[in-house]
Each structure stands twice: as structure tokens, then as C-alpha cells.
């Protein structure tokens, strides 16, 4: 009787493990195995006739010169256009571009920013969802000392953001060229 009860208990434990143990493991491992992007614009017409025009227009609007810091941003350190990861990089970069809409530089700026972002996503046709880490807020919880310091901080932030945007657009152009070159030379 006791043996029977013990055996039933063990069976329940095993079942419990399989029911409650493995699925979470699968869920954890799932993001690394998914995110499948199919690049549709490999011929280059969409990029050459639409995206590249908007990227160049954004470069003209930015006009910050060559005084940007040389150190790479965290985003670009983490994500790069490596082999077989071009689509993923472009996907993340396109989504990142939307954050710059908040800068409200101009209507024309926003328009072309959207064209580059939405157009890239349209061409990539990624099926998996990639969670982006929320950018850490800088000093939101810190008390503001005075208006001038706040203004300076905003200006500095804007400058840094523009530098990062310009760098990001350069990386996207390079990655697109890499994809199109690969399409011409299989």
C-alpha cells in the first residue's frame, strides 16, 4: 500500500516537472531561435529610388558637421550588420529610428524618417517579434537644479541624438549596400 502510494507520488512529481518545468524553458529559449526576416527588396529598386533618397534628405537636414564624439553608442556596439544578420540589424535600426520622431525637428524630417523606418520594415517582412529594451531614461528621477542646466542638458542630448542618428543612418546604408552586393554576386 505504501509502495503504491510512493509510486503515485513519484509519477506526479515527474508529471509536474514536465508540465511546469520544460515549457518555461522553451519560452525562454524561443526568442533566440525565432525572428525570421525575408528581405524583399534585394533587387535594389526600392532602396535606390525611395529609401536612399530619404536617407540623403535626412543627412542634409541634420548638418551637424564632424564634431560628433568618436565613441560608438551602446546600440551600435550591441548590434551590427554581421553576416547572416543583416536583416535583423536593419529591423532593429528601423525600429530605433522611430524614437527620433520625438525630436520634432521639422515636418520634412519626420516624413523622411518615417519613410526610411516604415519602408525598411516593409521590405524586411520579419515574422518574429523582437523586444527592444527600453532606453534608460537619463536623469528623470533626478531633481532639476536650474533652468539653464536643464537647457544645456537638452541641447547636449539633442546633439548626441543627432550624432547617433547620423551614425545609425550610415550603418543602415552600409548594410543595405552589403545586401544588394550579395544579391548581385551570389
Amino acid at each position: 500500500m505504501i509502495t503504491l502510494a510512493y509510486s503515485y507520488l513519484m509519477l506526479d512529481l515527474v508529471s509536474f516537472r514536465y508540465i511546469f518545468g520544460i515549457p518555461p524553458l522553451i519560452l525562454v529559449l524561443l526568442p533566440a531561435a525565432s525572428s525570421d526576416c525575408d528581405i524583399e527588396g534585394r533587387k535594389g529598386n526600392e532602396y535606390e529610388k525611395v529609401l536612399m533618397i530619404s536617407i540623403n534628405r535626412l543627412d542634409n537636414v541634420i548638418e551637424i558637421g564632424s564634431n560628433c564624439p568618436t565613441n560608438e553608442s551602446n546600440f551600435l556596439k550591441k548590434h551590427s550588420c554581421d553576416d547572416n544578420k543583416e536583416a535583423m540589424f536593419l529591423y532593429r535600426a528601423a525600429r530605433k529610428l522611430k524614437q527620433f520622431l520625438k525630436m520634432n525637428i521639422s515636418e520634412d524630417f519626420n516624413l523622411h524618417l518615417l519613410i526610411v523606418s516604415e519602408g525598411t520594415l516593409k521590405l524586411l517582412n520579419c515574422t518574429g517579434k523582437v523586444k527592444e529594451r527600453k532606453a534608460p531614461s537619463q536623469g528623470e528621477g533626478q531633481p532639476i537644479k536650474n533652468l539653464e542646466e536643464n537647457k544645456l542638458l537638452k541641447e547636449q542630448k539633442k546633439w548626441n541624438d543627432l550624432c547617433f542618428l547620423r551614425r545609425l543612418l550610415e550603418k543602415m546604408k552600409t548594410c543595405w549596400n552589403k545586401i544588394l552586393r550579395g544579391a548581385k554576386d551570389p
Binding site: G41, K49, L51, I115, E118, G119, K122, L123
Partner: protein, 461 residues
């Protein structure tokens, strides 16, 4: 009662609804009514107003009641999912910046909230360019052509920049006889020779996307331009200078031909194609003809009446050298001169006569003429043509002997002959008549010229 009333009400209601579903209609036309054709077509125009694009749609059937119809576009838009078009008379129109220009969109005809018909379209594949403008035609006299130029607003756009243009022109009196030329630039040259002279022409142009990503429809025609081609006289107006030169050249050539024909035989042909000279005739012509009755001929038969003395050989004599050292004979007296002359005449002349050749001496060779024997002498006065006519030889030979006589009396310096040949002695022998003269006055040194006697040969005696 209540139950009964409810039952009747339900029956009536059911009867009403069944009658409605069975097709009964108050309006009898509905059964035979055909569904409205809501097919439509659309075109887009990019950057028509700054960075704004436009989309224009219209129903294919203008008779369709479009009172409550709406057009909606969804997909390939920025920030929004769908946009509604605005109705403008019989067309539906929207102007917006929110076209993504990548990917397909769905355009639907909606009646209320219900979509009647939908089409999948790509905004970049239904582009209709704006019509060209500022069309002009300029005549270029130097190039003999008409330069057609026009302008298009797409040159300043960022998306639809590359277009294909269609230039159409016709003679105004020939309706519907349009000539078309396709080009990608905004300039075209029409050759004058391909157009009618003195005619009025009409030209117009339209555009279409070049097909490299952007596609669509032909734009509207540009406003026409009219021009007149210049008048030409027949084959064309020639330059007067060129005309004069061509006439003069023609007459010059004609004159040249006539002169050539006239003078060909007498003047031109002897120069261009001279006859080979006969040496005998040539020499006859070259030789100076004697004055009177002298027969210059190489025909041996002419000398039949002359006695010819054969010259066997020529010997050099040493004593000629001593002559130059001053041993000149004394001048002959007149009687001796007469004797000499007579002696000469007394000989068997004309059976004998001297065949003298112009000869030269050594630098200091003496010269001596002895009577009775004709020797080689300085013959300055030797006639150039030694006439074989023996009848008149007396006069000529007297001239010879005068030379002979004179020579001893002269000084040494005068005696020197002009020719640098060795003195020679001619030995004369009578030769039977009829025999040709054979003389071969060869000297030990080579002669620089051919003597007259070398033309004929001594036949075997």
C-alpha cells in the same frame, strides 16, 4: 385569447418576411435590374505640390449613381492604416504626403461602411506625370534643322525624375498624319530636308515614367506649337560665287577638251608618244647641209664616182715630238705654196684625197705639214661636212691646205690643237671606186667620240 393573438401575430410576421425573401418587390424593376458596374481606375501624381502626392480615382461608368459612394485607400501609408478620398464632381481625389511609395495598397469603393469593390494597386505603378510645357521650335539655318525644346517639372523632383517623352508633329493640312519621335531628353532636332518647304507645322509633346521602378500612364499633351518652314527655290538657292566658279570650271574643261582634240596629232602626240628616231634620217637632219649641190647621204651608191683611198692604219711618229721644240720649217714662199697647192692638185686627185680627222696632239707635239704627202695636220678650217662630192672638192680642199700652210707659220702656242690626242699619220692608199671608205683611226688612247667614218665598215677588199 392572448395566446391566440400572439399566434396570429407571429404567423403574419412570418408571412411578411417570407414574402419579402421570395423576391416579391413593390418595385418591379428590381428583379430585372443589373448590378451597377463600380469598376474604377486610378492614377497617382508624385510631388505634385511640393512634397505632397495626389491620387485620383474615377468610375469607369459615368452613369453610375455615385451619390453615396466613397473611395478608400489602405496599406502602404505612413502613420495611418487608411485614407479616404474626397469627391470632386465625378472624380475622387486626395492629396497627401503619407504615401510610403513601397508596397501595394488596396483601394475600395465603399457604400456606407460596406466595400463594394476593391483593387490592389501600387502607387508607384500608376504614376501619371505632369504635362510638359514651354514648347518651342527654333530654325537653325546653319544646321538646316529645327530645334524643338520643351520643359518639364519633373526635372526638379526627387522621385519621378527620369521620363520618356513623345514628340508628335504634323503638317497642318494633313490631319491625323502625326509623326512621333521618342526621346529621353528635352531637345530634339528635326531635319529641314524631311519637312515640306513653305508649310505650316504643328508639334506637341507628352511624357511617361521610364519604367525603372516608377511606371504609369502618358501625361496630357502639352500645348501645341505652330511653325512654318522656309521657302526653297527648286533645288535650293546656290551661292552666287559657287555658281560663277562652277560655270567657269565647266567652260574651262570644255575648252581644254576641244584644244586637246584639235592639237592632238600635231603637237601633243609627238610629245606624249614620240616616234622612235631613225638614226640615218636624224643624222641627215643634224648635219649641216652644204650650200650647193652637195649630196649628204650614207648610201654607198652615191659615191660611185669617187675614188676612195683605203686607210690601212695609223702610226705614231716620234719626230712629231721634236717639232714642238722650235724646229719650225721656214715659211714657204709663194712659188712653193703654189707648188704645194698645185702638187696637191696634180696628184691623182680626186683619186687621192686625204681623209683627215680632227685630231689632237700632245701638249708639246710639233706640227709639221710637208708637201707631197698629206699628213695629219691641224685642220682648223676643216669643213664640218666633208663632202664626198668630188667635183667641187678643189675649193674645199684649198681651204684645208690654207690651214695646212698657215700652221707652220704660226707660233708654237698657236699650233697647239685643242684636242689632247696624239699626233697621227694617215697613210693613204688608193681604193677602188665603189668601195666604201673604211677608216678606223684608232689611237693608242681611247677616243671620246665616234667619228663619221665609224658609221660604215670597210668591206672586204
Amino acid at each position: 385569447m392572448t395566446i391566440l393573438g400572439t399566434a396570429f401575430g407571429m404567423a403574419f410576421y412570418l408571412l411578411h418576411s417570407v414574402s419579402g425573401e421570395s423576391g416579391y418587390a413593390q418595385n418591379g424593376d428590381l428583379e430585372d435590374a443589373e448590378p451597377d458596374d463600380y469598376s474604377f481606375s486610378c492614377y497617382s501624381q508624385l510631388e505634385v505640390n511640393g512634397s505632397q502626392h495626389s491620387l485620383t480615382c474615377a468610375l469607369d461608368d459615368p452613369d453610375v449613381n455615385s451619390t453615396n459612394l466613397e473611395f478608400e485607400i489602405c496599406g502602404a501609408l505612413l502613420e495611418v492604416n487608411c485614407l479616404n478620398l474626397n469627391k470632386l464632381q465625378d472624380m475622387y481625389f486626395i492629396r497627401t504626403k503619407k504615401f510610403l511609395l513601397i508596397g501595394d495598397s488596396e483601394i475600395c469603393v465603399k457604400l456606407g461602411q460596406k466595400s463594394i469593390t476593391c483593387k490592389i494597386m501600387n502607387i508607384v505603378k500608376i504614376v501619371k506625370p505632369e504635362p510638359p510645357f514651354d514648347l518651342r521650335v527654333v530654325y537653325r539655318e546653319g544646321a538646316n534643322d529645327f530645334l524643338v525644346t520643351f520643359n518639364t517639372s519633373h526635372l526638379k523632383k526627387i522621385y519621378v525624375k527620369d521620363l520618356l517623352h513623345d514628340v508628335a508633329y504634323r503638317q497642318e493640312k494633313n490631319e491625323n498624319n502625326w509623326m512621333n519621335v521618342n526621346l529621353s531628353s528635352t531637345k530634339l532636332a528635326l531635319l529641314q530636308r524631311k519637312l515640306q518647304s513653305g508649310a505650316m507645322y504643328e508639334v506637341k509633346v507628352r511624357s511617361i515614367p521610364d519604367g525603372n521602378y516608377f511606371e504609369g500612364y502618358w501625361s496630357a499633351w502639352s500645348p501645341s506649337y505652330h511653325f512654318r518652314t522656309p521657302e526653297t527655290n527648286g533645288t535650293g538657292k546656290m551661292d552666287p560665287v559657287l555658281q560663277t566658279v562652277s560655270i567657269l570650271s565647266f567652260f574651262s574643261v570644255a575648252l581644254l577638251v576641244i584644244l586637246t582634240c584639235v592639237l592632238w596629232k600635231k603637237r601633243i602626240k609627238p610629245i606624249v608618244w614620240p616616234n622612235l628616231p631613225d638614226h640615218k634620217k636624224t643624222l641627215e637632219q643634224l648635219c649641216k647641209k652644204p650650200k650647193k649641190n652637195l649630196n649628204v647621204s650614207f648610201n654607198p651608191e652615191s659615191f660611185l664616182d669617187c675614188q676612195i683611198h683605203k686607210v690601212d692604219g695609223i702610226q705614231a711618229r716620234d719626230e712629231v715630238e721634236n717639232f714642238l721644240q722650235g724646229t719650225f720649217p721656214p715659211p714657204l714662199e709663194e712659188s712653193e705654196k703654189q707648188k704645194l697647192v698645185g702638187g696637191v692638185q696634180g696628184t691623182s686627185w680626186p683619186s687621192e684625197h686625204a681623209v683627215l680627222t680632227p685630231e689632237t696632239f700632245r701638249g708639246d707635239s710639233p706640227l709639221r705639214c710637208l708637201p707631197g704627202n698629206v699628213r695629219a695636220c691641224n685642220i682648223h678650217e676643216l669643213p664640218s661636212s666633208r663632202s664626198p662630192n668630188c667635183r667641187d672638192d678643189g675649193k674645199n680642199w684649198s681651204r684645208v691646205y690654207q690651214g695646212l700652210l698657215l700652221s707652220p707659220g704660226t707660233t708654237n702656242g698657236a699650233l697647239l690643237p685643242p684636242f689632247p690626242f696624239q699626233s697621227e699619220i694617215v697613210t693613204l692608199n688608193p681604193v677602188p671606186q665603189g668601195q666604201p671608205i673604211l677608216t678606223s683611226l684608232g689611237s693608242s688612247q681611247e677616243e671620246a667620240y665616234v667619228t663619221m667614218s665609224s658609221f660604215s665598215k670597210i668591206s672586204e677588199l
